[in-house]
């Protein structure tokens, strides 16, 4: 048995771990005490990654359809040839690529290259990424870095930490842990959230907002800060531009309306503004996706912190947290239709559309789909995907999506191929191959290269390291990255270029090479409102074990058991209802109810919880009925996985 350093492949924290390998298989995992972010900790998922990596529930052979629509195992050559030949019949909007935010940078870079240069299609996307794209946009515009501006390794240096909306102790537990340790070390911890999450309970202050009003709360804090003259004048003068416009914008907002609509007291807003101003350093954390912040909210948060002088300094920063291990890297290497490698915004015809967007058009132009390691899309668009002419699935783990595929190509897992993954704090980390994949199974990047070769492209990659060589030339912030450098320590944070040979821990305002800029947030302050017909405001969110249909969690034992401890209690999902509301409705715990919105309904069980205030209810985003029957019907903002607040009524069944 030998142990090897590696990086956890679950969430965007990118904790270090040690994998134990014996008899050609992964046998165990331990927390890595030397890792600068995780410092010897892991969450329940990370502590059981060996169960996933050792599962036999794998796709082991390439498959093609034979008689009766069943798939048969065929040789790799035959399957690649078939994939190349069949896909080559499509172009433009007829074909789309769905990349995996869990795949390595090398895999995703070549998938994007395959899409754009061989198939001449800009339609490559991650699908559930609109939220992160918005955050990246704002930070790129305001600070020149389209990702976390601070660093996870500086959390304990922050004087004040503001957690906006995210149930971070459950989504990225080790980041939650760092925040908790910082608070125990004396940092102020404030949570701004419409629900009482674990981090809210651990915070000295929980500003309990009404659902869907985080934007209003942030605007109110900014207005109070500036009205009192609590902004950092010298910082603004030396490092920023656009403050005058921002101040003018704030003066046009009505503080009372904002505050009361957000469900907060004036004293709470003022207290936060003052503390933010006075703190020697401060960080803000939020997530993207269904419980995350939209563009305007991120802009307001950024502007607030900029005005307070809490960007570009040690222990400070505005920090979007990613829930899946390589969302950031996927953007960097161009696997999102919204960004080209860099990442830089894709404009005009270069900005493709995601499969979801193409399928939403009626009639849809999409005929062919290449999918890597996903399970979510079939929840949303099962019927439409069934109607496609050619679906090629590339993945390591057995997955219900395989039933929708015409060609299946097995890929190596993260323990079976060299690959780099970029965590939320821009840290590019290298995972070395530790065990052999099942016989004949190749890393995904090789599969894309082989398809490209069949179609006449001559890509000469000999290893994933050589793919990184090209990434380093195509992606400016990766310019100085080599595997040798990555292996010396615990990866490198980009930008890693001529000016930052050893990477960049965090944005340094003095080193930014440009002025930091206030980002326009718009005057749109929608307030979700309940009505007589729909008296409850429903919030949706994520939790520790739930990623879409949880395909990979189901391959484990202990995390699956923990998931089942909740799921089997509420097999069709649950809606959290405050005790007072449950009493009024006359429902007990686990009673079935219909949650009805203007566009659709879903049937779930009641879960009585003090974590929601009366008049508000919460559903975790994993219920089967929820997406097709409910969220899809409720409107496009949900479709883009934005912060979602839906007025509903609850009917006893």
């Amino acid at each position: 048995m030998s142990t090897h350093t590696g990086v956890c492949n679950f969430c965007g924290t990118g904790c270090g771990h040690l994998l134990e390998v014996g008899d050609g298989a992964v046998r165990g995992v331990f927390a890595s005490p030397g890792h600068p972010v995780s410092r010897g900790r892991l969450c329940v998922r990370g502590w059981h990654i060996h169960e996933l990596l050792a599962t036999e529930d794998r796709i082991v052979a390439p498959q093609l359809p034979r008689a009766c629509g069943r798939l048969d195992a065929v040789s790799y050559e035959e399957a690649i040839g078939a994939a190349a030949e069949r896909l080559s019949r499509y172009s433009g909007d007829e074909i789309a690529f769905l990349a995996s935010p869990r795949a390595s940078n090398e895999d995703n870079y070549l998938m994007a290259k395959l899409a754009r240069t061989v198939f001449r299609s800009p339609n490559i996307g991650l699908a559930s990424d609109q939220g992160h794209a918005d955050a990246a946009d704002v930070l790129l515009e305001g600070a020149g870095i389209p990702a976390m501006l601070g660093a996870l390794t500086e959390i304990r240096k922050a004087g004040l930490i503001l957690v906006v909306g995210a149930d971070i102790a459950k989504l990225n537990p080790i980041v939650g842990s760092e925040i908790h340790y910082a608070a125990r070390g004396g940092a102020g911890l404030v949570t701004l959230s419409p629900r009482s999450t674990q981090i809210a309970k651990l915070s000295g202050t929980h500003l309990w907002t009404r659902p869907g009003t985080l934007r209003l709360a942030l605007a109110a804090v900014a207005k109070v800060l500036v009205e009192h003259g609590w902004q950092d004048e010298s910082f603004l003068r030396d490092r920023t531009e656009g403050f005058a416009d921002f101040a003018r914008y704030l003066s046009g907002l009505d503080l009372e309306t904002l505050t009361s609509a957000a469900g907060l007291a004036p004293a709470e807003i003022e207290d936060l503004a003052l503390r933010l101003s006075r703190a020697p350093s401060a960080m803000a954390f939020f997530s993207s996706g269904i419980s995350g912040l939209d563009r305007a909210s991120v802009a307001l948060l950024f502007d607030l912190f900029l005005a307070a002088g809490k960007i570009g300094r040690e222990g400070s920063g505005v920090n979007p947290i990613t829930g899946i291990c390589n969302i950031v890297g996927s953007y960097d290497v161009g696997a999102s239709n919204l960004f080209l490698p860099g990442p830089r915004r894709a404009e005009g015809p270069a900005a493709g559309r995601t499969p979801r967007q193409l399928l939403a058009v009626s009639p849809s132009p999409l005929k062919a789909l290449v999918v890597a390691d996903r399970d979510e899309e079939i929840v949303r668009h099962a019927d439409k995907i069934k109607g496609l002419e050619c679906v090629v699935y590339v993945g390591a783990y057995d997955n219900p999506f395989v039933d929708f595929a015409h060609i299946v190509l097995p890929a190596a897992s993260s323990a079976e191929a060299d690959g780099t993954y970029t965590n939320a704090e821009r840290r590019i980390q290298l995972n070395r191959r530790k065990v052999d994949p099942p016989a004949g199974v190749l890393p995904a990047w090789r599969i894309y290269a082989d398809i490209a070769a069949r179609l006449g492209a001559s890509w000469a990659y000999t290893s994933s390291e050589s793919v990184m060589g090209e990434i380093a030339s195509a992606v400016p912030s990766y310019a100085g990255v080599t595997y040798a450098k990555l292996e010396k320590g615990h990866g490198l944070q980009w930008p890693c270029d001529a000016r930052h040979a050893d990477g960049t821990v965090r944005l340094d305002a003095g080193d930014a090479g440009r002025k930091l800029r206030f980002v326009a947030a718009g005057s749109d302050f929608p307030v979700p409102a309940a009505s007589a017909d729909f008296p409850f405001l429903l919030m949706a969110g994520k939790a520790t074990y739930f990623w879409h249909r949880n395909n990979i969690m189901k391959k484990t034992q202990i995390p699956k058991r923990e998931y089942n401890a909740l799921l089997l209690l509420y097999p069709r999902g649950f809606v959290e209802i405050a005790p007072a509301d449950a009493k009024t409705l006359g429902v007990r715990d686990r009673a079935p109810v219909n949650v009805v919105a203007a566009g659709g309904s879903m049937r779930v069980a009641v879960r009585i919880s003090g974590d929601v205030k009366p008049g508000t209810v919460y559903v975790p985003y994993f219920i089967e009925d929820m997406v097709p029957g409910f969220l899809n019907a409720a409107g496009t903002s949900i479709d883009e996985d934005q912060d979602s607040t839906i007025p509903v009524r609850i009917e006893k069944v």
Binding site: M1, S2, T3, T5, L18, E20, R27, G28, V29, F30, A31, S32, P33, G34, H35, G40, R41, L42, C43, V44, G46, W47, H50, E51, A54, E56, R58, V60, A169, P173, I174, G176, S177, H180, Y181, R184, Q198, K201, L202, G489, H490, T544, Q557, I558, R561, E562, N564, A565, L566, L568, L569
Partner: protein, 355 residues
């Protein structure tokens, strides 16, 4: 007692490597604490390394292993079960007193009580133990509070205590004597025992100044926990900080809970896997049919510390369930390792007493 010059440690590990799989503290590239793991190269074992980040218990209680496999053919109705042979000679070299105490707790628990745990027994057979006295504490240590160090008292074949350029090489068994002979060690002088005692006393004296991470004054709390006189609000306060990761159980030298799961293989057989489990988890006590007698996280925290510190639980180990190794404090995302929990409970007792 004998003398083993420090530079002879590689000879010791090489000699053991002839007959045993070697386990010991190994330094890792990339920094961080040493890990106690299987060493293919005897020279990789570093007696001078700090306390390992992981507990040595993995050598007798692996994180995940197959204990038997079976195949049942529903057509032919033929069932075949094969038990895995887990017996391998293992040498644990450089195990600290706290961890050795933990091992002895596991012995009493797994090999005593109503039944003998045959899987553990297989791992534990054919074992050679070289313990290493801690001549100074590490920042996380509190073995003096749990009477489990800094010097090992029993259970070893050899116990080393570093003095100057040498180790005092104390034998605890005939196997230990045989190794001394094999290595051709010089006998120690008549003052060796006194020298060892002095070294241990000096180590204990250093705890106040050097073992500063954890101040766990446990004995006052054990009684309280045993009698159940701790308010639920204390457990809720602790439970709020629990991230339900299981790490405290995984790193604890005395934790022995495991899960059994039958996992089907691609070729049609089934592996019965035994793996680490933790009472931290909600699913740990959940029954089919959904009744879960220990569901709230505060109840699970209560149970853990009851297990570690109450007098009635110490019956199964003949000593407290905590060995003062400090690992739970290092690995806990919520900063509620045992020492902090003891502090919170003491604070409660003090407040209650003041009323």
């Amino acid at each position: 007692m004998y003398i083993l010059p420090r530079n002879q440690v590689p000879a010791l590990t090489a000699a053991l490597a002839e007959d045993y799989d070697l386990y010991g503290p190994v330094l890792r590239p990339g920094g961080g604490d040493p890990m106690f793991e299987r060493a293919a190269d005897p020279a990789a074992i570093r007696m001078d390394a700090a306390i390992s980040y992981n507990p040595p218990k993995s050598a007798v209680f692996p994180q995940a292993e197959r204990i038997l496999s079976y195949r049942y053919d529903r057509e032919s109705r033929e069932a075949v079960l094969v038990r895995d042979d887990l017996v391998r000679p293992k040498a644990l070299v450089g195990i600290r007193a706290c961890d050795l105490t933990g091992l002895l707790c596991l012995d009493r628990f797994y090999l005593g009580q109503e039944y003998v745990d045959e899987v553990y027994r297989d791992h534990r057979k054919k074992m050679f133990i070289v313990a290493n006295t801690c001549v100074r504490p590490f920042p996380q240590c509190f073995c003096v509070c749990t009477d489990s160090g800094p010097a090992p008292r029993e259970g070893f074949d050899v116990a080393l205590t570093g003095v100057g350029d040498d180790y005092l090489f104390e034998t605890g068994s005939e196997k230990g004597e045989a190794l001394a002979r094999k290595l051709g060690l010089k006998e120690a002088g008549p003052d060796a025992a006194a020298l060892k005692a002095k070294t241990v006393d000096e180590s204990i004296a250093r705890f106040d100044a050097e073992a500063t991470e954890n101040k766990a004054w446990i004995s006052r709390v054990m009684n309280r926990i045993t009698m159940g006189f701790i308010g639920n609000d204390v457990w809720e306060y602790i439970g709020d900080q629990c991230f339900e990761c299981g790490a405290c159980s995984f790193v604890c030298p005395t934790c022995s809970c495991f899960n059994i799961e039958d996992v089907n293989t691609r070729e049609g057989g089934t592996d019965r896997m035994r793996s680490w489990d933790s009472c931290s988890f909600e699913g740990y006590t959940r029954m089919a049919g959904d009744h879960n007698p220990r569901k709230p996280v505060e109840d699970r925290r209560n149970k853990r510390f009851f297990c570690k510190l109450s007098f009635s639980q110490s019956k199964k180990y003949l000593r407290p369930g905590c060995v003062g190794c400090g690992r739970c404090a290092r690995v806990c995302p919520g900063d509620i390792g045992l020492p902090n929990v003891v502090t919170y409970i003491r604070r409660e007792i003090t407040k209650a007493g003041a009323k």
